[in-house]
């Protein structure tokens, strides 16, 4: 069996672990669905469509929910890595005939898969909701959403990489949760996931508005709004920016995780 096949098997096993954590799934799904189907639909009737949000509030909010879903699912990689490090499963992995970099790759890919599968499911639910409420869906939008999958996958691996980094540097479980929450608050808050760029520019200092603009979550939410829900053609520059901001995150995370595995080989513990 090739190294690649083994990498795929480990990624698949770790990926399935995400969906086996039923309590986590229940929390995530209930939060995402209540945001989408309660907050989204109710607020849509309260907030009129405007140029600031470009369309109905539902179509503005749902891409944000999809991106946050992707973020939550991808950061679960960190929890799984932390558990594997502390419960010794990582030592079992280290006895398998796969190179250390293969093991790192498997975790990052599985994080990417978790994010894309979970956010993909939310996207489907969003489209079904639009059909249910007789709102217009641009057919090209669905096609654009399919084209976006690999780009969202890279974003998801980037976030998984960041989570891997925090899991690797966390000595205690509660510290990992602190880091994960800090990451979520900073990345989601300083972004255009839930607010239009103009609003951020209006109320926050210019540097923060710039960070929000180039935050990969903002870029992903923007592309989804513009193309998957707006039906406008995909912009190459936006996709390139998404890749350019996601790949370094994946690289940093992979490197941090690789260093931890190397430390285990030298010291016997992370």
């Amino acid at each position: 069996m090739s190294q690649f096949s083994r990498l795929v098997r480990i990624a698949r096993t770790d990926f399935s672990y995400f969906f086996r954590t039923k309590w986590l799934m229940a929390v995530l799904i209930s939060l995402s669905l209540s945001d989408m189907l309660v907050v989204g639909l109710v607020y849509t009737r309260l907030i009129p469509a405007s140029t600031a949000i470009g369309s109905s509030y539902f179509q503005f909010l749902v891409p944000g929910i999809v991106v946050v879903g992707l973020f939550s699912a991808a950061t679960d990689t960190g929890r799984r890595i932390w558990l594997a490090l502390r419960e010794g499963v990582i030592q079992y992995y280290l006895t398998l005939p796969i190179r250390t970099r293969g093991l790192v790759g498997a975790y990052i890919i599985s994080g990417g898969l978790g994010g894309i599968v979970y956010s993909g499911a939310l996207l489907i639910i969003a489209y079904l909701s639009l059909i249910l409420f007789k709102a217009p869906i641009p057919i090209q939008g669905i096609l654009y959403a399919l084209i976006l999958i690999p780009f969202l996958f890279v974003l998801s691996t980037g976030i998984a990489g960041l989570a891997a980094f925090f899991a690797s540097v966390s000595r205690r479980g509660e510290m990992y949760w602190v880091y994960a929450q800090a990451l979520q608050v900073s990345m989601v808050t300083i972004s255009t996931v839930f607010y239009p760029a103009q609003t951020i520019a209006q109320y926050l200092p210019a540097p923060i508005a710039t960070i929000a603009e180039y935050n990969p979550l903002s870029l992903a939410a923007g592309v989804l709004r513009n193309s998957a829900f707006g039906g406008n053609a995909l912009e190459t520059s936006a996709l390139a920016s998404l890749l350019a901001t996601s790949l370094p995150l994946a690289t940093i995370g992979a490197l941090a995780y690789w260093i931890i595995l190397r430390t285990i080989r030298l010291k016997g513990k992370p």
Partner: protein, 314 residues
């Protein structure tokens, strides 16, 4: 070629030396038991052999492959059952074994049958629908053993394979380990359980404070102790001091157990010593209540070579 060979192998954790220049070999197709208390370096040695740990200095080879230079190749030919069972918490035993089998290229056509048979042999079949996190300590330990059994590696390593396992389960695991040896695997078992070592070992290596103290077959190790047999004699009345002196003159090492009427003698040949002891006792007027003859245990061997009792170690 040795199945395992280490040369001046050393491992240091901070200021602590876990292994101090260990030279150690295991022949192909044998069961080598590494006997030593906690902290003797057993687990560190095993972790180096299975490539989890890198040595600080020295070399280690598994079937001729260097564990540092070609770790992935080593991992293809070895399997380890950890001291603490390690598994995916939310997976069932059969799913864990399927994953393990797939990672080691076990023929997919035979995989399911092999897994089912091994689980039944180790009495895990009843627990097949439980998640790993719900298995008892003994069940998790048996699952750990099952991984290595289905893999049938060239080198199989078992780190305290029957800790947390009940007596019946212990015997089952020991028999399966011997079966694995008979199928051609070389086996290393690390333990601090004397009974386990006696049941399994083709040879025993005693490790103490990161060094190899001695390595040989059990009979030879026992013969190496001055006075290979132990004779325990119970008298009806307190033993006269003169008798103890006389018995010491018969060869061997005789001691009177404190606050009892019992003598303990380490002698070369019990069959020669006992008749002379009974004559001397008759002459001294000491009435014998019972005589027990035992050979030294591995605990005695450990005590002899290290100066410390295995059970007293931290």
């Amino acid at each position: 070629m040795f199945a395992v060979e280490t040369l001046n192998l050393a491992k240091r954790y901070g200021k602590t030396d876990a292994l101090r220049g260990l030279n150690f070999t295991v022949n192909e197709g044998e069961i080598m038991v590494i006997l030593g208390p906690n902290g003797s370096g057993k687990t560190t040695l095993l972790m180096i052999l299975c490539t989890i740990l890198k040595p600080t200095s020295g070399t280690a080879k598994v079937v001729g492959i260097d564990v540092v230079e070609e770790g992935t190749k080593v991992r293809e030919v070895m399997g380890i059952a950890f001291q603490e069972a390690r598994g995916f918490w939310r997976h069932k035993p059969s799913s864990i074994l399927r994953f393990h089998a797939s990672m080691f290229d076990i023929d997919p056509a035979k995989r399911q049958d092999l897994i089912e048979r091994t689980m039944k042999d180790l009495e895990l079949w009843e627990s097949r629908d439980k998640m790993f996190m719900h298995l008892s300590g003994g069940q998790a330990k048996r699952l750990e053993t099952a991984k290595v059994l289905i893999q049938q590696p060239k080198l199989a390593i078992f780190d305290e394979p029957t800790s947390q396992v009940d007596l019946r389960g212990k015997r089952k695991i020991w028999d399966k380990i011997r079966e694995l040896r008979d199928q051609g695997s070389t086996i290393i078992v690390a333990t601090n359980e004397v009974r386990e070592a006696e049941y399994l070992a083709d040879r025993v290596t005693i490790l103490h404070e990161g060094n190899r103290v001695v390595c040989d077959t059990i009979p030879k190790l026992k013969d190496a102790i001055a006075g290979g047999d132990i004779v325990e004699v119970d008298f009806e009345d307190p033993v006269p001091e003169k008798l103890v002196q006389d018995l010491n003159g018969l060869g061997g090492e005789v001691s009177l157990l404190p606050e009892s009427n019992q003598l303990r003698a380490k002698v070369s040949k019990a069959e020669d010593w006992v008749p002379r002891m009974t004559s001397a006792s008759y002459v001294a007027g000491a009435k014998i209540a019972s005589i027990r003859i035992t050979e030294p245990s591995l605990d005695d061997v450990f005590l002899h070579f290290t100066g410390k009792a295995l059970a007293d170690q931290p």
